[in-house]
């Protein structure tokens, strides 16, 4: 492990990321007894704060811990939980586990892409939705499953998807 770099790690690197959040992340890291083996926990915290892990946040973590940026990115890219793109207000997860898959999850996700006009891991133009495909979420009895944030829609049918999404659009006054 290398030493911390002697740069000011507290100045935010881009304007659009709020300094307070960097400060909060820094306090969080400073209060840890040891940062050894804590990279995942720190990235978790960072994602909660910023909503996603932009480049500058990853570099901030790397410099603060005195580890290479590539190492941080290696971890970020390994876990599908971490995202480097901003998320929509709602995250729609479509389970692609085996049980869901045999019950037509591939058609479900295609339909979702059609309705939202995006691919997986993208955000809709209005900033409302992010679509992700996930591995088995352990509710195979309800397959196929779509989740909107923490709300689970079990045994969904293709025809129902539009209504589900419209509910959220209405809620946000976008319909």
């Amino acid at each position: 492990m290398t030493k911390q770099q002697a740069i000011s790690v507290t100045t935010p690197m881009t304007q659009d990321l709020p300094k307070e959040k960097f400060d909060e992340l820094e306090t969080f890291i400073d209060q840890m007894e040891t940062t050894k083996g804590a990279l995942i926990e720190i990235l978790h915290k960072a994602q909660n704060l910023f909503g996603y892990l932009p480049r500058d946040v990853q570099l901030f973590v790397a410099r603060k811990l005195g580890i290479p940026g590539a190492e941080v990115y290696g971890v970020v890219s390994f876990y599908s939980y971490f995202t480097t793109k901003p998320r929509g207000k709602y995250t729609i997860s479509c389970c692609m586990g085996t049980a869901c898959f045999v019950r037509g999850a591939d058609k479900i996700i295609e339909r979702l892409k059609e309705i939202l006009g995006i691919e997986s891991n993208e955000i809709t133009e209005d900033g409302l939705f992010t679509l992700i495909d996930v591995r088995c979420i352990g509710a195979c009895g309800l397959a196929p499953i779509v989740k909107v944030d923490e709300k689970v829609y079990g045994r969904v049918k293709e025809e129902e998807l539009e209504d589900i999404i419209n509910t959220y659009r209405l809620l946000e006054g976008k319909k």
Binding site: T2, Q5, G69, A70, V72, Y73, S77
Partner: protein, 584 residues
């Protein structure tokens, strides 16, 4: 004191043997002439580059009593262990491991830059793979051609992680990391940004150990042919000190064979208008660097002085220790100095338009490709050095030209600018630059003749070395590091103020340029690098003149053209400056 290890008994393929405790099955098998194939494994013990990721599963052997096959490269022997290396089961498992790697590997050996040098290819041949039973999904990542030095072709990455070991552990640059997971995993920099945007030093140590063509140098041979075929161009070539002791390997000669004369002949036959030796530039470097050192000592300026002839090392300090940019010598590297002299003094003397001169450098080095493109070194709209090709690339060109290298007669470098000294030859190995500088500094400071020019205390392969040299009653404390991880240790000491040196030599590559990223592949055999080093010191002993400031042609150059060493014109032409860079 030699530590005596406990000896234990094991059986390999029915042969009983006694081996020291703690070694691996692979090492034990080696002792009884059993060859277990390996791929990810790499052990350059003395250079401290050991890759033990055990990711490829090519070295699987059977150890009865254990449930399954075990990887020989990481499994330690134990008392009474019985190992069978070539049972049907082991052979099948190994072949399967290779077939799986091949199943999603691009099928393009014919046109691959590593053709006949690729370890995966060699392994497939060795294991008798004749068909690939699976068709895996191939990766389809674009090639990274952004840098002037390194090509990254992620589709050929077999994820052995040797490059990570080289870059992160040995060089402590931290550029490369595994990206993604599963079958799609490959190695790349932070956020998979283009190499050119990363803090890569272009030392090329990752290239030196990559078994496939996932990491290779940017090939510039076509540019050289183009220049040679252009009747309007005056094409001159210079060869670095470390080429003459390594290029013979590409023509099946023993490592460490000195082939200076054949090298010169081959270049002349290829059609270069003049063949020069970078050693001349190295002598020039010493004139400037020793003057700078003495200037700094006499005027109480910043010490230590750090040698600056390794561009990878320069880029390393720019990214990693931007607060220390005051300490490196401002001297350009030897081949860039030489290029400058060619485009100025030589051009004038021969009535040539510098724009029509093409300077080609043959270097053991990948970093020098990028160095030659640095904006501050491309003065007056024409480059100081136009094209850099590695030892490996030159070897390929000699073959393309149908030159039978080992049958060539010897010839001499062209003159003027052709005379060189023993001091400049040793630039090719760790410890050599500082030894050359001390030979000159000693005589200049004391005014006495230095009789024994060999400073053996500065030599060797230890990663970090220190020595005190007594110069006329004044003690100079010298530090030497090779490998950037070792350089980091020295620099941290300086930054923290815990160590004090007067002069430091740093070379990015383990062993120095003899182990450079552009040298013939050593395929994990570090003896090769050591033999090249021995040959360098032999070449020094072969020279009549062994001190840079006794190079008559260099002195003549100062008299006719440059004026005083470290003077005004020398400053303008032979010195440069450095830049703070971001660490990514």
């Amino acid at each position: 004191m030699v530590e005596t290890k406990k000896m234990i008994k094991i059986i390999i393929n029915d042969q009983e043997l006694s081996v020291p405790e703690g070694i691996t099955i692979l090492e034990a098998a080696h002792q009884v002439g059993v060859k277990i194939p390996t791929l990810c494994h790499l052990d350059l013990h003395d250079l401290k580059m050991v890759n033990q990721t055990a990711s490829c599963r090519v070295c699987m052997v059977e150890a009865p009593g254990r449930n399954s096959l075990v990887p020989a490269c990481v499994t330690k022997v134990s008392e009474g262990m019985e190992v069978n290396t070539h049972t049907t089961r082991a052979i099948t498992a190994r072949r399967m491991a290779v077939e799986l790697l091949l199943s999603n590997h691009p099928n393009e050996c014919f046109t691959c830059p590593k053709n006949l040098q690729c370890e995966l290819q060699a392994l497939a041949a060795e294991l008798g793979v004749r068909e690939i039973r699976w068709e895996g999904e191939r990766m389809d990542y674009p090639k990274d051609l952004t840098s002037d030095a390194i090509v990254k072709d992620a589709n050929k990455c077999i994820y052995c992680r040797r490059c990570e070991t080289a870059c992160n552990i040995v060089q402590t640059c931290g550029i490369l990391s595994g990206i993604g997971r599963g079958f799609d995993v490959f190695v790349g920099p932070f956020a998979n940004i283009p190499m050119v945007e990363s803090s890569c030093t272009y030392c090329g140590q990752c290239v030196a150990v990559c078994p496939t063509a996932a990491l290779t140098e940017v090939n510039h041979t076509a540019k050289v042919w183009e220049a040679l075929n252009d009747p309007d161009k005056h094409v001159i070539v210079q060869t670095a000190p470390a080429i003459r002791v390594a290029i013979g390997e590409l023509f099946d000669m023993e490592p460490g064979t000195i082939v200076t004369g054949k090298l010169v002949t081959s270049l002349k036959r290829m059609g270069f208008d003049a063949v020069f030796d970078t050693d001349f530039g190295a002598d020039l470097t010493i004139m400037e660097e020793a003057s700078e050192l003495i200037y700094r000592i006499k005027n109480n300026k910043t010490l230590p002085i750090l040698t600056s002839c390794c561009p990878a090392w320069v880029k390393f300090i720019e990214h990693q220790f931007p607060e220390l940019l005051e300490i490196p010598s401002t001297c350009k590297s030897p081949h860039i100095m030489f290029g400058t002299i060619v485009k100025t003094f030589y051009a004038k003397k021969h009535g040539l338009d510098p724009d029509n001169i093409v300077v080609v450098s043959i270097m053991p080095c990948i970093a020098k490709k990028a160095e030659a493109k640095r904006p501050e070194l491309t003065k007056d709209a024409h480059n100081n050095v136009d094209i850099v090709v590695t030892t490996r690339e030159l070897g390929a060109m000699i073959k393309e030209a149908g030159i039978d290298f080992d049958k060539l007669p010897d010839s001499e470098y062209d003159k003027p600018l052709g005379e060189t000294t023993g001091a400049s030859v040793i630039f090719g190995t760790t410890g050599g630059v500082i030894e050359a500088a001390i030979r000159t500094t000693y005589e200049w400071l004391t005014g006495e003749e230095l009789v024994d020019v060999e400073f053996t205390q500065l030599r060797g392969m230890e990663g970090v070395r220190e020595a005190v040299v007594n110069i006329g009653g004044k003690e100079l404390k010298i530090g030497i590091a090779h490998g950037l991880g070792n350089a980091r240790i020295l620099l941290e000491g300086i930054r923290e103020g815990t160590s004090h040196y007067d002069a430091i030599e740093i070379m990015a590559c383990p062993g120095g340029c003899v182990g450079g990223g552009g040298q013939p592949y050593h395929h994990g055999n570090e003896e090769i690098v050591k033999k090249r080093q021995e040959a360098i010191y032999q070449e020094d002993r072969n020279k009549k003149i062994r001190k840079s400031h006794e190079n008559a042609e260099v002195l003549e150059l100062y008299r006719q053209y440059l004026g005083e060493p470290y003077g005004k014109l020398a400053h303008e032409l032979l010195h440069t400056h450095y830049e703070e860079r971001e660490r990514i």
